[in-house]
């Protein structure tokens, strides 16, 4: 589904990603872990198409297409979803209007007619139930005045509405209490299908108690320095990131 090959990227001339190679197959859940400043969010930003990140080398192929050539909105319509680490507040734009526009853009892209108002509201209702978000949130402006937990739940709700093929969740677990964490994880598990994939970016292993990854990568200093099964996450939880840093430094020296 997604093939990243030797991806290098910089922000404002500063090199952040220093050669990332990664393949995600349909139905897989990949966890990307790593200490702060290792490049996790930059990777998410490149995949979603943020302009301030400059790709200097390498390629990203998504469903056989060159992802880097696509606009952010086309990526979304082709099935990529980014769950933001810091969801944006947009006063004056209602959740209903926002989601209706987004869903209908997706439908148009897929050659479908826009949803009728009643079908759309039914879809909203169903998805709200699925991800257990407070129905009142959907009547407000996008993220305006939402608590940290509500914002993250709202990301999962949007994901449920848009049914992406590849969802990238950028530290969706940060700042969540245990109940919100459970809601977020349940949302992901309910939306998981054999034909869609997830990249879960996280600092802590805690989320991975609820979302069981197939593959765990450790990102450090712009490179993937370790890839293994879910047991790697447990090891990181126990030992922290220092041993990885040491391993990397030793490798460089030897």
């Amino acid at each position: 589904m997604l093939i990243i090959n030797n991806l290098k990227a910089s922000i404002g001339g500063k090199s952040i990603l220093k050669g990332i190679t990664l393949e995600v197959k349909p139905g897989e859940i990949h966890a990307i872990m790593g200490p702060n400043g290792s490049g996790k969010s930059t990777l998410a930003a490149v995949l979603a198409g943020r302009e301030f990140v400059e790709v200097t080398e390498g390629s990203v192929t998504y469903l056989g297409k060159n992802l880097l050539d696509m606009s952010p909105e086309d990526r979304a319509k082709e099935g990529i979803f980014l769950g933001f680490q810091y969801p944006i507040e947009i006063p004056g734009v209602s959740m209903v209007n926002f989601m209706k526009t987004a869903v209908n853009e997706h439908r148009k892209h897929n050659g479908l007619d826009p949803l009728s108002a009643s079908d759309f509201l039914k879809l909203m209702r169903d998805k709200k139930e699925l991800v257990e978000i407070d129905s009142k949130l959907a009547n407000r402006s996008v993220n305006e005045g939402f608590s940290g937990g509500e914002k993250k739940k709202n990301e999962i709700f949007q994901m449920a509405m848009l049914e992406p093929k590849l969802a990238i969740l950028d530290e969706t677990d940060s700042g969540l209490d245990i109940d919100a964490l459970r809601v977020v994880a349940n949302g992901v598990n309910k939306l998981k299908r054999p034909d869609n994939s997830f990249i879960v970016i996280t600092h802590y292993q805690r989320l991975l108690d609820y979302i069981v990854p197939d593959v765990v990568h450790v990102l450090y200093d712009g490179r993937i320095v370790k890839t293994a099964g879910r047991e790697l996450a447990l090891e990181l939880e126990e030992k922290g990131y220092d041993w990885i840093k040491k391993e990397v430094e030793n490798n460089v020296l030897s």
Binding site: P72, A76, K77, L82, P91, T101, A102, E105, S141
Partner: protein
């Protein structure tokens, strides 16, 4: 040399030439204010940019022009006005049309609504309700610095009069449609007086339209009295063409525990200056002052707000927003005065502006003068571009950049629009603003003039 500017002399001349005609057709009480007002105007003149309150607005562009002045309507004008229909669906109002500043109904100059409310011509009201007019006319519209208010008092002869007696709640709003139409360039002035007595509830919509493409200048004064515990809402919808200049001065005087709001929605116009004066004249009074403007080409919109906290425990809120395109310009001046005795004051002010081009320009000036110590006051002003993080957020959900920008600008404007309590009008404003942001013509009512 008397030190007066040429442009001021022009209006002094206009006064001298027409005062006799104006006096003949007006009520004696209103006439009794004219001479003193003329003298004050003669001293103050047409405001220039040297006047702090007009620092960012050059009135001469419109005031220094030879208008065919218009002091009495003719019968054919009345007919034109009667033909005008506002086409806002579901907007159920009591309608009044003012043509070139005159209340143009031939037979029924004043009418009483079933609830006991009177609406109609100020000139007729001054004769029918002399005590009411004496009690309120000229009592609130006062300024030591703005000669235009005196110019209006000196020469205006008609406008809208509304009287809402004590305890009456008028559920349907009154809608005043100000039309200007002439075959020649025209200067007009009107004067409104709205009296909302103790415990009454009333809302008024004032719509400004131009019906012919000539150059127009309007200088209008509105005085509002809001009695104890009364509720009053004013919504102004300004949709005039680019060769029109509108200067409005609105004075809202509030008594104890009353609530009043003013909302200036400026969709179109060449040069617009709205001065809104809120006087919180009794404990527990609360006022809301809103404004939204969308400008392009060479348009200029200036909102001047003056909130006077004269009594303790009053609350004021200001929210003004602007979206400026092309080389248009705008200004905001928000004054909050908290007098020494006004303890327990809450006063808020927010002014946000989006510049869509490098050539658009906005000046914003908060002006807080606080002489009491138990006061909670805040103000904030921003001038910037569409938020790129928010733009990306929408794009990342599959919404294309153009649409996403539109949604953000609409959301920005909607924050002001959402304060309109009349649903049909709120929907219509949303609609007109969306059209305007899309670059489509936002024509309202049966207007034949292309405002763009």
């Amino acid at each position: 040399m008397n030190g007066r500017s040429e442009v001021t002399e022009r209006y002094i001349g206009l006064y001298k030439e027409n005062i006799e005609k104006i006096t003949t057709s007006s009520s004696p009480y209103i006439n009794s204010f004219r001479e003193a007002a003329y003298e004050r105007f003669r001293d103050m003149g047409i405001p220039t940019k040297k006047n702090e309150a007009y620092k960012y607005t050059n009135l001469n562009i419109f005031f220094d022009h030879d208008y065919k002045s218009y002091f009495m309507p003719v019968t054919s004008d009345f007919i034109k006005a009667e033909e005008f229909r506002c086409d806002v669906a579901d907007l159920d109002t009591h309608g009044i049309v003012l043509l070139n500043g005159f209340y143009p109904t031939i037979n029924e100059k004043l009418r009483q609504l079933p609830s006991g409310v009177w609406i109609g011509s100020l000139n007729a009201a001054a004769i029918k309700f002399p005590d009411l007019v004496k009690k309120h006319y000229g009592k609130y519209a006062k300024s030591d610095t703005d000669g235009l208010i005196d110019l209006n008092t000196a020469m205006a002869s008609d406008g809208v009069f509304v009287y809402v007696p004590e305890g009456v709640a008028l559920t349907k709003p009154v809608q005043v449609v100000n039309l200007v139409q002439s075959d020649e360039d025209m200067f007009s002035q009107h004067r409104n007086l709205i009296i909302v007595e103790k415990g009454a509830e009333f809302s008024i919509i004032i719509c400004d339209h131009t019906l012919s493409p000539q150059k127009f200048l309007t200088n209008a004064v509105t005085e509002v009295f809001v009695g104890e515990n009364a509720h009053f809402d004013l919504i102004r919808v300004q949709n005039e063409h680019n060769a029109a200049c509108k200067v409005t001065h609105t004075f809202i005087h509030q008594e104890k525990n009353s609530v009043a709001s003013s909302n200036n929605m400026t969709l179109h116009g060449g040069l617009i200056r709205n001065s809104t004066y809120h006087y919180l004249g009794g404990e527990g009074a609360e006022c809301f002052s809103y404004g939204l403007f969308l400008t392009d080409k060479w348009q200029h919109v200036d909102n001047f707000v003056n909130v006077d906290h004269a009594f303790p425990k009053c609350t004021s809120n200001q929210l003004f927003k602007g979206v400026l395109d092309d080389m248009s310009t705008g200004a905001f001046n928000g004054r909050i005065l908290v007098r020494p005795d006004a303890q327990g004051t809450l006063a808020y002010q927010k002014n946000n502006n989006i510049l869509l081009t490098d050539d658009a320009k906005m000046d914003t000036k908060p002006q807080l003068e606080i002489f009491a110590d138990d006061v909670k006051c805040s103000h904030g002003a921003t001038i910037g571009q569409v938020d790129s993080d928010a733009l990306f957020y929408l794009q990342s959900r599959g919404i294309n950049k153009r649409e996403a920008r539109l949604m953000l600008m609409f959301g920005f404007a909607h924050e002001v629009i959402q304060n309109i309590k009349i649903e049909a009008l709120r929907d219509r404003m949303d609609n007109l603003v969306m059209q305007r942001l899309k670059g489509e013509l936002s024509r309202c009512a049966s207007c034949m003039v292309k405002c763009g």
